[in-house]
């Protein structure tokens, strides 16, 4: 599975700059527009300025976008037009290793974007605490979840347009309703419970906790939530890719 990861990594090294700008552009622009623009007229949330409030969540969102796009548009190209998946499956590499190699690569790519974004926060006056180091494995787990979800889409897609469903119905709603831009704690009743169960919500919560070292929060439910999503989505991705590739 490392070989599959390495293949994608080698290709990425060649186009690193374009790839990073593509992945980082959106979250940085959001941070600028919402944090600076809108933030000046928004009062403090949970004791943070609006810019501070949304910054950790936008780091988490950059991981989501990076991972999900890699295993949809990227992996689907390798599966369909390039025939790379089939070429790999003619070698001793198994379908399990292929799927996991792709998922781990997608997670890595998401994580790289997340770390760079995190490192850029001081430019916006946001100072991450030393606890941010703990965020790295959390963001990697997040990467696995969204990379596996993308792989599920790739395994059932018949063309690129199919990914519009994924972007419009999954990724964009998660981006907007996972507590990046508003506090889920202010929402009442079962809606709040549902929103808190979304995979990105758990990461946004953990990002804020570790970014600012606010360890008084109970993080166990969020960690458990991530583990469940990671395992189920990876398992489904492997199962569906096998069904797609082996007749």
């Amino acid at each position: 599975m490392y070989q599959v990861w390495f293949r994608n990594f080698s290709v990425w090294l060649k186009h690193m700059r374009a790839s990073l700008i593509g992945n980082l552009g959106q979250p940085l622009l959001f941070l600028l527009a919402m944090g600076y623009g809108l933030g000046r007229s928004v009062p403090e949330i949970e004791g943070l300025s609006y810019l501070q409030f949304i910054a950790p969540g936008l780091v988490a969102s950059s991981v989501m976008y990076g991972a999900a796009f890699e295993t949809t548009y990227g992996s689907y190209t390798r599966l369909s037009t390039q025939g790379t998946f089939e070429a790999i499956l003619m070698t001793p590499v198994s379908i399990f290793e292929l799927a996991m190699g792709e998922i781990l690569w997608g997670a890595t790519k998401g994580l790289i974007g997340g770390i760079i974004m995190l490192a850029m926060l001081p430019l916006f006056g946001v100072m991450p605490s030393p606890w941010s180091a703990v965020l790295v494995p959390v963001l990697f787990a997040e990467g696995i979840i969204f990379s596996a979800m993308g792989m599920i889409m790739t395994a059932v897609a018949s063309n690129y347009d199919f990914f519009n469903y994924f972007t419009s119905l999954v990724i964009t709603p998660l981006f907007l309703f996972s507590g990046i831009f508003f506090s889920l704690k202010t929402i009442a009743g079962p809606i709040r419970n549902i929103l808190e169960l979304l995979p990105l919500s758990s990461v946004v919560l953990l990002s804020r906790v570790f970014c600012y070292g606010r360890l008084d929060e109970n993080i166990l439910p969020a960690l458990a939530n991530l583990a469940v999503y990671a395992i189920i989505s990876s398992w489904a991705a492997i199962f569906l890719l096998k069904r797609r590739m082996i007749k």
Partner: protein, 321 residues
Amino acid sequence: MHHQVTGSSSASNRSDERPVLEITGLRKTFGQREVLKGLNIRLESGICLALLGPNGAGKTTTIRIILGLVVATGGEIKVFGKSIPRNLRKVKYQVGVVPQMDNLDPDLTVLENLLIYARYFRIKKAAARQRAAELLEFFALTNRRDEIIQNLSGGQRRRLLLARALMNRPRLLILDEPTIGLDPQARLLIWERLRHLRKHGTTMLLTSHYMEEVTRLATKVIIIDYGKSIARGSPTEMVERMLGTEIMEFSGPEEKLARLQKALEDCNVSTERLKNRLYVYIKQGCRELDSAAMDFPMVIKRPATLEDLFLKLTGRNLRET
């Protein structure tokens, strides 16, 4: 230096009596469609076996089953004496494949294609570099090693696919239509290289519908149609045995052809009637034939080929899948 290029284990394992590939009663159905109906194949070490058949006969499906990309409905496959798919991974370390569809990695250069592929076989970096250099030389690609795949010609791509398939020094080389879509010059170069490999003991399983390719490369042929083997033998021997040495093609009005066909009943020949055309497959010369030849203004006499046998056995109708 060319001898270094052939598989390492193949030549030394000649004494090994086990066939390299043994397929018994292979069956596969896709939904309602029965693609393989009890196919038997036996491939001994050092031999080039060609699977010949019209489109949809089941050749590529057979290959994909050997590679674990298609799961068989029934039957047994042993490669190097080991059952598939149970020992798939172990077996694949010693199998090389040239697929019908070009699936070179377009994100990588020529050399990188070979090196990354070697990683899938867990070949050490230094060994992979050396092997890649040898193979690029053997397939006349050394001066293109840093080129990206898009800039290669069709023939160069095919040669690179072959080089890639040989990176792991396979004991079994599978070639699925290795020269499809190439011009005659490019094809000749590949045939020459493949003959070299065969001479040095590389065992090959070849599918093709280029009869010339099969006649030049294969030591043994199995003709497959509708998922079953319908004839087998060496390319020249089976043509002589099943068809004859020469063919005469008569064209003319129906009644005249019918009369000729009747007159030939006592000869050691077989005939095939088509609209306004009579094919006579000659096993032994015959007086009636010589006199008939005078009567017809349009007669073609030529040696019988594998293509004639193929068309006789599988029919002249168009196959579409």
